[in-house]
């Protein structure tokens, strides 16, 4: 079972967090902080798995993460999940985001937190993997998106703003690592200490 899914940027700013087990508000924040602490100090050439340890209760849990440009995608799972399977699930998730947002970037996640959650809900339900088939996920998300379009203007504005930002001819990011076949080109938002 998946216990939590976290997305944060290179500075540890949470961009999305979803917990499938109940923790108190403070614990959740602590989990995010510690996970960031653990994951961020790992080199690029080490493996993508970490024993969760004391974090989310018990040594049975592990962290499986991927680093895309400015974002870390971390799945906290128990021993019943396959490590490589989850690793590719992250890939599916990111590819789906990429399709839904047309070239996804960090700003998309910030301004469309609800949409990201909705996409995730089509993949993982209550901690169980519901769907791994990208086209199916996109079909479901689009079915919901149709309603939105009938009510124009709500999603339009920020999407346009973001795509404008994206289209500004940015030089190549130094941390633009190509894992698999997609890369997130993300303008880096500064964060505070």
């Amino acid at each position: 079972m998946i216990k939590a899914i976290l997305i944060f940027n290179n500075h540890g700013k949470p961009r999305m967090s979803k917990f499938y087990e109940h923790y108190t508000e403070d614990t959740e924040q602590q989990i995010i902080r510690e996970t960031f602490h653990l994951v961020s100090k790992r080199d690029e050439n080490v493996c993508n798995f970490l024993e969760g340890g004391l974090l989310i209760g018990g040594s049975e849990n592990k962290l499986i993460y991927r680093h895309y440009a400015t974002l870390y995608f971390v799945f906290c799972v128990d021993s019943s999940e396959s490590e490589l399977g989850i690793l590719d699930l992250i890939q599916v998730f990111v590819e789906t985001l990429d399709k839904c947002f047309e070239n996804v970037c960090e700003l998309d996640l910030i301004f469309h937190l609800d949409k990201v959650h909705n996409i995730l809900a089509e993949m993982v339900m209550g901690g169980m993997v519901l769907e791994t088939n990208m086209s199916e996920i996109i079909t479901q998300v689009e079915a919901q998106g149709k309603m939105e379009k009938s009510e124009a203007g709500i999603a339009g504005a920020p999407a346009r703003a973001v795509s404008a930002v994206k289209n500004m001819n940015l030089p190549e990011m130094p941390k633009n690592i190509n894992i698999g076949d997609i890369s997130i080109k993300v303008p880096n938002l500064p964060s505070f200490k």
């Binding site: 999305m16 339900m125 169980m128 791994t132 930002v165």
Partner: protein, 1123 residues
């Protein structure tokens, strides 16, 4: 880089401003995000968010806020909550949004609810109606959202409300709804298994759903179910194999491919299920060899996900009944993993090796050089996994090297969890394989100083117990103790301020107990070292107590020194310390008393602990007589508190007859009644069984005094205080570190590695066949603990809790039954079916099953365009026709003939013997009769029946050994069985061995299942007794059941049906409520309260045993469903 950022940010506001006309609503979120990014400190962020939250609060409470604005506020609230700020005032509005809005609002509302609220949140109650409405909605999206929220946040007690609707969704025309419903039911199963017991058949339907997606999600459920009880699902093996074959054969739509691998996640799930099914079961394993082989072959492509499949495949091959060819292939795969340059694969390879070395230690030998390299890998995770692997291959020959490696790793590690985990392993290895005393003590010194106060409490406890209890040879024990004393004296002479408290405590205990063994050291020196510790600031007061009690134990010491010290501490603020100082003072002055209280060298086992504290009974009854309040256990106190004030959140009102509750309360609070029972407590075990509510609960009470006075050994189990402190490095370890220091020259380094390899893997290979033999027989642990008879007897006295008179009586009858006196009893009828499947038939049934499925393949495939074939798992519930029952029942012994009994069922047979069984329901036990029939024309000799079942207790047996069985005759073997812990079904296995010719022994295995229903007996009570008992029970479960409405009085009909099926006792029926009681052989009672509510029967069960209500409920459901 920073230029880019700046450019982007300066561009942002402009971009947003240019869009103003389009959407004012999202303005706020945009502004919020923008201003947050402009901030420089955490403090500023806090202020900003606080302002934002205030503004939002105002907005949500204003009546002018539109739905659209509300939606936007919710998204902002989610953002704030994600950053860790409390936006709880929006929760109620999230629910409102889900209730009132259109689809778009609902979506945001539900999303916010699932993010904000957890399972225990009280606001969830407000959501039930909305969810019910949406589950019935014809709008797909609404129904989907409702299912998602149900799976995410619904708690146990709300499940009954939505269960029927979710169940209906299993036959919904849209597959996405079916899929979500299956997962929601799986979630229900995880949190409340008993509530979905009745729909297991529907899970089978989901498995054979025509949509592969629905089938895939049902695998989640089956993985869980099979993990819990693999035996019940063996019949599905064929189906899973067929599904996997079809997936491999590309029968799924192309949509399911991921990097041109067909449905990889589905394959992973299936492989896991197969490995669980095939574990320790040859016939089932044989069914899957072919498909596993194919999986190994197909997964060749060089992509991540194929490795994921390969890894599962390898694990499966090593889990199921072994087949040589497959094992060879799997071993090659592991090799590829381990040698892979990709770090993730290397990690999995190590994991696979760790798993595999248990079966085949030689495999580690092949990869020894890789393992050595991994030990020095820069990746922490890899290193850890390598040590895990080394732990598995440790034996007496390589223990020193491996432990040294582990300690090296520990010294450079600062992750708390890893330290705790690994230190435990080191101490386990040290205890098991230590080559000599000095090594053992030194290693444990390292463990204590590195692990420090992070250590699990059982590590020091085990160590001290080992020292104290010793092994068989007194001489060896003393040597070990002596060495420990010497080494601790050396440690204490050095710097002590950085030593962990835990280590200090261990040292002071050992010195106190065994310093006298060391003749050459002056007592004065020991005392000086210990008192020195007391002066240190860093020493916690807990440790001080340990040190003081150590000083107390050192006899004829320097009285002046000690008296001085005792006086100083006698005025301490800490009461425990003060008490200890007083004891020290008195004992050191009176050497005779000292000798009597702390006898030197008294054997460990000789100390008797009166765990019932019966010597306090006089005091207690006096206090009670003087008007003190009787002791109540915590759960009872809690319950009373709840009764007194808490809001009744139960969805259904419930009331006991008034007279019951009132009479019980007066009874319970009457001090006279309690003092009477307490006065009876001369025999302590009897008391604790008699009345749980009046026994003293001893948890957390430090026991200092026993029957014989002060108990000096209690420190060994006393809780310690955790306090982090730096580690110490004893001299031996430094030497060790020098030895493994890396050399500059490459060639010597390689040589080093070779050397290390040979020392690490010694005793594993074929080269050292002698040690290999030794390994396979598992060398006896060096330090063997003595059995501790006292522990068990004393703990059982306190832990057993039963709470009524009937229970006592059942105990008595059980006792008498144990001596074989068969009492006469009132027969009660029972007709629960005996679900039994002999092993040989299972195999046949499965293969047939497979054949029929293959036939179906051709029939049904055209329906789905040859994509996916329906797999219809057929239910194998073969109830054998009781062919010989008539003549076998005649064989029942005369004294048992009148008892209610089940049909006689054939268990198994071979050419010479045939076995059948019959269950007889005695009042005090279940009698399992096994009929052994000789089918041959010759005499069979030396028949011995052996029956094993972990969950059951055999109270007595008769006739399990038959010297000689005549031709064509039958012998009967009795087993009287009791069930202490309820299980819905228990399976038993057994063997019959016999000789047809002298010297030639045959064995015939058999197996079968028994249900809890066999162990349930009526509990005869009056209504008043029932009321009293009801209030004293703590574990309850509530559920709606089907009401049988075919006859006049539905309640009476239903209860009678239950009574017939389960041997319950109907205590009373008052109007629309009925109370029923039963008990489980041989312990716990269970009370059932039933009330008719509309077309359902609301059943409320209570029992002292946590699992019993669930179990009985399950059988009630089945009994009603089968009518």
């Amino acid at each position: 880089m920073s230029d880019v950022v700046e450019k982007t940010l300066t561009a942002l506001p402009g971009l947003f401003d240019s869009q103003t006309g389009a959407a004012k609503i999202t303005n706020r979120l945009r502004q919020l995000v923008k201003s947050i990014t402009e901030l420089t400190s955490k403090h500023e962020e806090e202020n900003l968010i606080k302002q934002e939250l205030c503004a939002m609060k105002e907005q949500v409470s204003s009546p002018n806020t539109s739905m659209k604005q509300m939606r936007e506020i919710m998204v902002r609230a989610m953002y704030c909550e994600m950053l860790g700020y409390d936006a709880s005032f929006t929760y109620i509005h999230a629910i409102k949004l889900a209730q009132q809005g259109g689809v778009l609002e609902k979506r945001v509302g539900y999303l916010a609810v699932s993010l904000f609220l957890n399972e225990g949140h009280e606001l969830l109650l407000l959501l039930v109606n909305t969810v019910l409405k949406d589950l019935q909605s014809t709008n797909l999206i609404e129904a989907c959202m409702a299912l998602t929220v149900v799976a995410q946040v619904f708690p146990k007690d709300m499940i009954p409300a939505v269960l029927p609707l979710v169940e209906d969704k299993l036959s919904h025309p849209k597959e996405i709804i079916r899929r979500k419903a299956v997962l929601a039911l799986y979630k229900f199963y995880l949190i409340a298994p008993n509530q979905v017991q009745h729909i297991h058949g529907k899970f089978r339907k989901a498995l054979s759903d025509r949509d592969p997606g629905v089938m895939a999600s049902s695998l989640h459920i089956y993985l869980q179910l099979i993990r819990e009880s693999p035996d019940s699902y063996k019949d599905l093996t064929g189906s899973f194999v067929t599904i996997l074959k079809q997936v491999l054969g590309g029968k799924l739509p192309v949509d399911f491919n991921y990097h041109s691998v067909p449905a990889p996640w589905l394959q992973i799930q299936l492989l896991r299920i197969l490995s669980l099914l095939g574990k320790e079961d040859q016939s089932t394993s044989e069914l899957m060899y072919e498909v596993l082989d194919e999986s190994l072959r197909r997964a060749e492509m060089n992509h991540n996900i194929t490795y994921a499949i390969l890894y599962e495949c390898v694990k499966a091959v090593y889990t199921i009944h072994p087949k040589v060819e497959l094992l060879e292939k799997a071993a090659r795969c592991i090799g590829n993993f381990v040698l892979s340059p990709k770090i993730n694969l290397k990690y999995l390879g190590l994991k696979a090796l760790t798993y595999v070395v248990q079966h085949d230690a030689k495999l580690a030998l092949q990869h020894q050089m890789t393992i050595i390299e991994c030990l020095d890998h820069s990746d922490f995770t890899i290193k850890r996994e390598t040590l895990e692997l080394l732990f598995r291959i440790t034996n007496a020959q390589n223990v020193t090297v491996i432990v040294e490696k582990m300690l090296d790793f520990l010294r450079g590690c600062n992750d708390e969890h890893t330290i705790i985990h690994l230190v435990g392993k080191v101490s386990e290895l040290a205890e098991k394989f230590a080559p000599d005393n000095s090594w053992f003590i030194q290693t444990m010194n390292c463990v204590f100083s590195i692990g420090g106060d992070l250590l699990q409490q059982d590590v020091p406890n085990n160590f001290l117990r080992l020292l104290a209890e010793g092994s068989e040879s007194k001489e060896e024990d003393d040597q070990l103790r002596l060495y420990a004393v010497e080494s601790y004296l050396t440690v204490l002479k050095g710097h002590t301020s950085h030593l962990p408290q835990c280590f200090l405590q261990v040292m002071s205990w050992v010195l106190g107990e065994y310093a006298h063994l060391q003749g050459s050291v002056d007592r004065r020196e020991v005392i000086r070292l210990l008192t020195q510790l007391l002066d240190q600031r860093s020493v916690s007061s807990e440790t001080r107590v340990w040190i003081l009690s150590a000083l107390t134990k050192i006899p004829e010491g320097q009285t002046d020194l000690i008296l001085d010290l005792a006086e100083r501490l006698a005025s301490s603020q800490d009461t425990v310390l003060r008490q200890q100082a007083q004891e020290l003072q008195h004992l050191s002055q009176d050497s005779q008393l000292h000798e009597w209280v702390l006898p030197r060298g008294a054997p460990w086992d000789a100390i008797e602990v009166d765990s019932s504290l019966s010597f306090l009974d006089g005091f207690v009854s006096e206090a009670l007589a003087a008007g003190a309040a009787p002791y109540k256990p915590p759960h009872q106190r809690q319950e009373e508190l709840c009764e007194d004030r808490a809001l009744n959140l139960e969805p259904y009102s419930f009331s006991l007859p008034v007279s019951l509750s009132s009479c019980s309360i007066t009874d319970r609070q009457s001090p006279t009644l309690l003092s009477v029972s307490s006065g009876l407590s001369g025999n302590s075990t009897e008391l604790s069984q008699k009345a749980g509510s009046s026994t003293l609960i001893l948890e957390g009470v430090k026991r200092v005094w026993g029957k014989d006075g002060y108990l000096p050994q209690k420190e060994a189990t006393a809780p310690l205080v955790d306090e982090p402190s730096a580690a110490v490095q004893p001299p031996v370890q430094q030497e060790a570190a020098e030895r493994t220091e890396p050399r500059p020259e490459l060639s010597t380094r390689n040589q080093d590695k070779q050397q290390l390899a040979s020392s690490l893997f010694v005793g594993l290979g074929v080269g050292s066949s002698v040690s290999l033999l030794g390994k396979s027989e598992a060398p006896p642990p060096r330090f063997r603990k003595k059995p501790r008879p006292h522990e068990s007897s004393s703990s059982s006295g306190t832990s057993e809790k039963s709470s009524d008179s009937s229970c006592r009586s059942s105990h008595n009858t059980t006792d008498s039954f144990l001596y074989g006196s068969f009492l006469e009893e009132e027969p009660a009828t029972s007709k629960s079916a005996f679900d039994h499947t002999p092993k040989s038939t299972t195999a046949n049934g499965l293969s047939q099953n497979k054949d029929t499925k293959e036939d179906k393949h051709t029939n049904t495939s055209q329906i789905f365009g040859g994509d996916m074939v329906i797999v219809r798992p057929s239910t194998i519930q073969d109830k054998h026709p009781p062919s010989e029952s008539s003549d076998l029942t005649a064989l029942l012994p005369a004294d048992l003939k009148d008892l209610p009994h089940s049909d006689v069922i054939s268990l198994t047979s071979d050419p010479s013997l045939s076995l059948s069984s019959c269950r007889l329901f005695r009042d005090e036990a279940l009698l399992l009769l096994i009929f052994i029939s000789n089918c041959t024309e010759t005499v069979i000799k030396d028949i011995a029946v052996q029956l094993t079942c972990e969950e059951l207790k055999t109270a007595s047996l008769r006739g399990n050994i038959v010297d000689c069985l005549e031709a064509r005759s039958t012998s009967v073997c009795h087993y009287a069985l009791l069930m202490d812990d309820p299980h819905t079904n228990v399976s038993f296995t057994g063997t019959v061995s016999y000789q047809t010719q002298p010297g030639h022994t045959n064995t015939l295995p058999f197996s079968g299942t028994l249900s809890t229903a066999d162990f349930i007996r009526p509990l005869v009570l009056t209504t008043e007794e029932y009321g009293k008992l009801w209030l004293s029970l703590s574990h309850d479960v509530k559920q709606n059941l089907k009401l049988l409405t075919d006859a006049g009085d539905p309640l009476r009909t239903t209860l009678n049906a239950l009574k017939d099926a389960l041997q319950l006792h109907v205590v009373d029926i008052i109007g629309s409520e009925g109370i029923v009681a039963c008990r489980l052989l041989s312990s716990a009672p269970c009370l059932l309260h039933c009330r008719v509510s509309g077309a359902a029967l609301v059943m409320w069960l209570r029992s002292p045993h946590p699992a019993l209500p669930d179990c009985i409920l399950y059988h009630c459901q089945r009994a009603l469903a089968h009518r």
